[in-house]
Amino acid sequence: MSAAKRVQQWATFARTWHIFDCKWQDPYQSANIIKKYLMGLHKPIYHPMNDCGDVVVCINSREIALRGDDWRKRAYFHHTGYPGGASWTLAWELHNKDPTMIIKKAVYRAMKGNLQRRHTMERLFIYPGEEIPEDIKQNVSNQIRQLRLVPQRLDHIPEEEVQQYPKVMEYPPDYVLK
């Protein structure tokens, strides 16, 4: 095998480490993207029987955004196995307890339930904040594009830019400013 081909062989079968910033992202929509990288579906060599999945590191999982009233309407079900052991936890209560759990469950549910799923989940790292361990940080070589734009708060925009921005509404002539 020539030297160039040998490098191509390494590059094809090496595990790539991807990073994904969950800030203001919908976990259920981004789970479908993360799933593809975790299972290796984005690779032309993909086959369910070959182990070609990549590693995904999710950061800022505390900052995920849910749509509309999902925080107080979505419930997570758990059953201990004992009679009367059923419990329903609302999404915001679960996020209070563990800020990584919602994105973990979303990715888990996005994948098909087979024997491989638990092993694929082992390749998903989730961190609530921006800090990640140094040994993981050194492996990361790719970033997954975010699905939604991170909105900018009005008080973070400079005062001058707010005043110089083109105006759409004009006050009526006898309006009393409040």
Partner: protein, 180 residues
């Protein structure tokens, strides 16, 4: 006797009130007004000062834009300035939405915004969406802590909204797709 006193009072009242009313009713102020408070020793002076509008130079109107593809407009109904511009405003466009609110973040009524009823509802809903998402936290009542992370319960977490739900009669439930 009572009748006499009454008539005397009404005689005294009349010139006082009519003269004081006349000041406000005859002339119409052509400028914006602003209440200013100043303190001079023990005296608190509250006065209404006429101020020029800062928005006049920056105003964007569809008539003044040269190469604007006209938005699809129903010829029978009168259209407002926002319909003519044909903007696609999202609830994250706080620089536009903040023009339609008071300093405490409350949406201005239609007689002041001058929008049509559809746009008034759309902008009003998007203002409340932006407020719930904590994007206009500096335009809130003074008792607000000015930090979305310090809100109570589920309100402290990030939320985004879908603008397509504004004119929906009923917002579809995510769980309905499991029903047969």
């Amino acid at each position: 006797m009572a009748l006499l006193i009454k008539s005397v009072f009404s005689f005294l009242k009349q010139p006082i009130f009519s003269s004081s009313l006349r000041v406000f009713s005859i002339t119409k102020q052509l400028n914006l007004k602003e209440f200013q408070e100043s303190r001079n020793g023990n005296k608190l002076i509250i006065e209404a000062v006429s101020v020029p509008s800062t928005r006049t130079d920056l105003l964007v109107r569809a008539d003044k834009i040269q190469d604007l593809t006209p938005a699809v407009i129903d010829a029978e109904k009168p259209v407002c300035y926002l319909c003519k511009l044909g903007l696609d405003i999202k609830h994250t466009d706080v620089l536009i939405l903040s023009q339609f609110v008071r300093s405490d973040g409350c949406m201005l009524p239609r007689r002041i915004t001058g929008l049509c009823s559809r746009q008034q509802k759309k902008v009003g809903t998007m203002v409340s969406m932006a407020q719930k998402a904590g994007l206009m936290i500096n335009l809130t009542p003074s008792r607000c802590k000015k930090d979305p992370k310090q809100r109570y319960g589920y309100k402290k977490f990030n939320t985004y909204f879908d603008e397509a739900t504004i004119f929906m009669k009923k917002i579809p439930d995510q769980r309905d797709k499991f029903k047969r």
